[in-house]
Point group: C2
Chain length 229, copies 2
DNA sequence: GTCGTTATTATGTGCAGACATATTCACATC
DNA sequence: GATGTGAATATGTCTGCACATAATAACGAC
C-alpha cells in the first residue's frame, strides 16, 4: 500500500472509517502521528483531513483533536444552472419570451426579503423559457432598478438572468427549493394541467449590502436536479 | 488596506472581480505575481485562489493560468438532513411508523439503478415520518439485505435511515430533487389532497461497488430546502 | 467541591524552497 | 498548410519549519 499525496491519505482515512478501525464519534490520531505513520509532512495530512472535514465526515476542533462525525451530515454540492446553457447542454433549442415588464411596488414578502423600505418600486419581470419551443420554466422576477445603470437593457432580447450574470456577477444570496401546484395562470403559461407539481427555485441575491433581485423559477413537470454525494 | 492571510486575499481578489478590475473571461496575474504584490508566500495565494476556483468563481489550468469564470456556475452546498434531527431541530416531536416490510424483486428501474442482476430480491420498506403527530414524509425504500448482517434490525423501532447512518455510514451515491403530484395512496398516507405537490428526493447509495439502498422520500407540501450561496 | 487562572496541546495558518505535471507555444518537419 | 516535437511556464503538491489560536486539562485558592 503506497500512501503518498494527500488524496491517498484521504482515501486511507476514509477506508479506516468505513472499516470501523475508527468508530463514529471516536477520536483519530493527531496530524503529527498520522504524518509519522504515513511518512509525510503534517501539512499533507492536514490537507487530507481538512477536505474530509469539509465533506462532513470528520469533525475537527483545536486542541480537542479530530473525530469521526457521529451524525455525518452529508453535504451535496449543486451546480446552479444557467437555464439557457442547461437546455442547450441537453441538445435542445433554447427560447425566451418576455411576458410582462413593469415598475411596481413589490408585495411585502418580497420587500422584506430584500430588506427594502415600504413604498420602494422595483422592476417586475415575467418571462418564459422554452426548450425546443415548449415552455419549461416560468420566471417571476423583482429587480432593483438601481443596478441597471443608465444603459437599461432590453429584456425582450436578453433574459434578466443572463444580463445579471454578465453585469452583476459574483453576488451572494440564498436559494430555496420547494414544490408547488401550478396555479391557473401558471398552468396556462407552462401549458400543463392546473395543479401540476412544479419544482420551484426561489432565489434572493445581494451584492454586498445592496439588494439585487428576488426571483421565483417554476419548472414544468419533469424537471429534476441531480448531483453526486 | 492590510492584506495578510489567505482569507483576506480571497476577499481582495473577489473585490477586484466585482469591481471589474479583472473582467470575466480575462486572466488574472500569476500566483507568483500576486504573492509579490501582497507580500505573502505563493502557497497563501494558492490557497485563496483554490478556494475561489472550488466555488466556481475562478477557472484554473496549469500553464494556462487563472481566469475569471465567464459563466460562473454557482455552486450551492446543501446539507442533506437526517429527518429526525431536522424535525427535532424545529422544536417538533418526531414520530416514525413502519407501514410495510417485505422481501421482493424490485421494479426494473430500481434494479438497474442499483446495478443488480434480474431476479435479485431486496428488502422493501415503506414508512412514514411524523412531526408533532402529523405525517410529513413518506419513505419508500429498497434495501440490499446483504448489509443487514446477522443482526437484522427491527425497522419498527428504528428508521432505516438512522440504522444505515450508524451501521453503513460514509457511503457514496447520487441524489436527485424533483416535484411530483401525490398519488391517491400517497395522498391518503400523508393526509393531503390527491395531486398535492410533493417535494421528492431520490437517493441511491453504494459502499464502494456494493449497492446499499435506493429510496424515494416524498415530502408533504410546505417542505422547503434552503441554503446560502 | 467550586471557581478562576494557567499551562498544555492539536489544529490553523504562515513561509521559503523544491519538484511534478499538464498545457501551451514556438519551431521544425513533412 | 498540417503535423509532430520540445522548451517554457503556471499551477499542483510536498517538505520542514514556525508561530497563532482556541479549547481543554491541571492546578491552586477558597
Amino acid at each position: 500500500m503506497k500512501v503518498s499525496g494527500w488524496e491517498d491519505i484521504r482515501e486511507e482515512v476514509l477506508r479506516r472509517i468505513r472499516a470501523r478501525d475508527w468508530a463514529p464519534g471516536a477520536a483519530i490520531p493527531t496530524e503529527e502521528a498520522l504524518a509519522g505513520e504515513f511518512g509525510v509532512a503534517r501539512a499533507t495530512v492536514n490537507r487530507a483531513l481538512r477536505e474530509l472535514a469539509e465533506e462532513g465526515v470528520l469533525e475537527r476542533r483545536r486542541k480537542a483533536g479530530t473525530r469521526v462525525a457521529l451524525h455525518p451530515v452529508r453535504k451535496a454540492t449543486l451546480d446552479i444552472p444557467v437555464t439557457r446553457l442547461e437546455i442547450e447542454g441537453r441538445g435542445q433549442r433554447y427560447g425566451y419570451r418576455l411576458l410582462a415588464e413593469d415598475r411596481d411596488e413589490p408585495p411585502p414578502a418580497i420587500a422584506s426579503r430584500l430588506g427594502l423600505a415600504k413604498g420602494a418600486a422595483l422592476l417586475h419581470l415575467t418571462a418564459l423559457h422554452l426548450a425546443d419551443g415548449r415552455p419549461v420554466l416560468l420566471e417571476d422576477r423583482w429587480l432593483n432598478p438601481e443596478v441597471l445603470g443608465r444603459a437599461a437593457p432590453d429584456f425582450h432580447a436578453v433574459s434578466a438572468n443572463e444580463w445579471l450574470l454578465t453585469h452583476v456577477p459574483y453576488t451572494t444570496g440564498d436559494i430555496g427549493f420547494s414544490a408547488a401546484n401550478a396555479s391557473a395562470a401558471e398552468a396556462r403559461l407552462l401549458e400543463v394541467a392546473e395543479g401540476a407539481a412544479l419544482f420551484v427555485i426561489d432565489r434572493t441575491t445581494w451584492e454586498g449590502e445592496r439588494p439585487i433581485t428576488c426571483v421565483r423559477l417554476a419548472h414544468a413537470p419533469g424537471y429534476r436536479m441531480q448531483t453526486m454525494v
